[in-house]
Symmetry: C2
Subunit: 289 residues, 2 copies
Amino acid sequence: MPIKTVGFIGLGVMGASMAEHLLDGGYELVVFNRTKEKAEPLLAKGAKWAETPAEVAGAAEVVITIVGYPKDVKDVYLGKNGILETKKGGYVVDMTTSSPILARRIYKEAKAKGVAALDAPVSGGDIGARNGQLVIVVGGDREAFDALKPIFELMGRTIRYFGEAGAGQYTKMVNQIAIASGMLGVAEAVAFAKKSGLNPVDVVETISGGAAASWSLSNLAPRMIRGDDAPGFYIKHIIKDMGIALECAKEMHLELPGLTLAKRLYDELAARGMEDCGTQTLIRWYLKQ
Amino acid sequence: MPIKTVGFIGLGVMGASMAEHLLDGGYELVVFNRTKEKAEPLLAKGAKWAETPAEVAGAAEVVITIVGYPKDVKDVYLGKNGILETKKGGYVVDMTTSSPILARRIYKEAKAKGVAALDAPVSGGDIGARNGQLVIVVGGDREAFDALKPIFELMGRTIRYFGEAGAGQYTKMVNQIAIASGMLGVAEAVAFAKKSGLNPVDVVETISGGAAASWSLSNLAPRMIRGDDAPGFYIKHIIKDMGIALECAKEMHLELPGLTLAKRLYDELAARGMEDCGTQTLIRWYLKQ
């Protein structure tokens, strides 16, 4: 029987766009969000409002969540009026970037109620969400992944299955580790270029063609040079992700001194009030600005 | 008067290819190398041998050097039988990746003898040298750069002037900093993927399309995963470069904790006998292999 109704919880910048693609794709949508105003545009297009996550779960075969922090994920699934209070059968999909350990716990508790849980965090940012061009990395049962693939395809351009529960979150963590530890290299290179009196724009342009090339060097170094702190990705979010990754690393007895260092520098910037700046603001740590 | 004779000192893997391009480009070549055997192929093609750097300098309008370490550069220019013992007028070009501080010293001592010195380190590796596709970043007097551009063009595809003496070396250091600190991110991401039981090949392929993308992730992570330690770039050389960059950073009162960390990890690997492995061997620090 094809899936008809999808529940969607978490209508932030990402979630609102993703939910809209499902509505445009012909699914009936039941939504919940902490602040109801953010749901208005979707309600105007025909989505139905539910008063709690539990109410969403009672009304939809598939429930998708994309909320803020692991503790929000825990509340929404396992808390009072949470999804698993009412959900029986069907699917739940957490697309928040969250803890793999928590993903495995939700998977188990869901399974006990006949519910198949997937962890399916995304990357590609608000622009990727708006254009349905996200990268979606998925963990959980293969059958559940196959069943929900048409839904994922409305939201993303690259949809990949990585293994059992938690594998989506682990994959997302690998991505965040590469970005966060790698940002040290970009910020240190730009700081050195500035301090040595070079024209940093010329230097970055020249070295971007070789072995130093990276997405961050091409896209964020120019913002570092201009002193543009506007967030593509917030410092407070990279701090959250680094915290999750370091917790996982500890569990697997893996030392990550680069990530530990990156988190320390970002924590210092956050303590100075920069948590709503973009990750490129790391340059300010080096320039003491 | 156009330049007819070029002296070339340092016929390692890089230097031998670079010198050959000059010979093929129609210049007369006078060469010196610590071990004469490496000069044989060039001598067979018509290059002349000189017994010392001073003898090279006495016979050529332009002297190019590409040797190993800053102390070799110092010896070749300022030591006994060094270039500046005999050179009068004309140009000297150090293409070794070396210290900007030393480059400025050579510039001054050369200038006192009417010699224009450029620092012009390269990137692109042995393949870039062989194909005449190096990136050459240059510091020194603009007029000297303009005069020698036809020579550089025989060796490189991107030739750029960055400012006064030392600017070429500073630019090269920016490149090395981005690579070395950035390698932490790649190695930590791969180590995390392996330890969490994911298929690291799939993970690297997936995240290479987004904000985690880098040359190192695409080119070195696969070698890390395979356990292939073969050197594209030697650990002993990145250690040399990081040492130079950290010395410069200290001089400019710039703290580079990421680079300091990367150097510590590479020093540990070198102490374990891996200095002739490639930089991707950093993965072994994380996997305790």
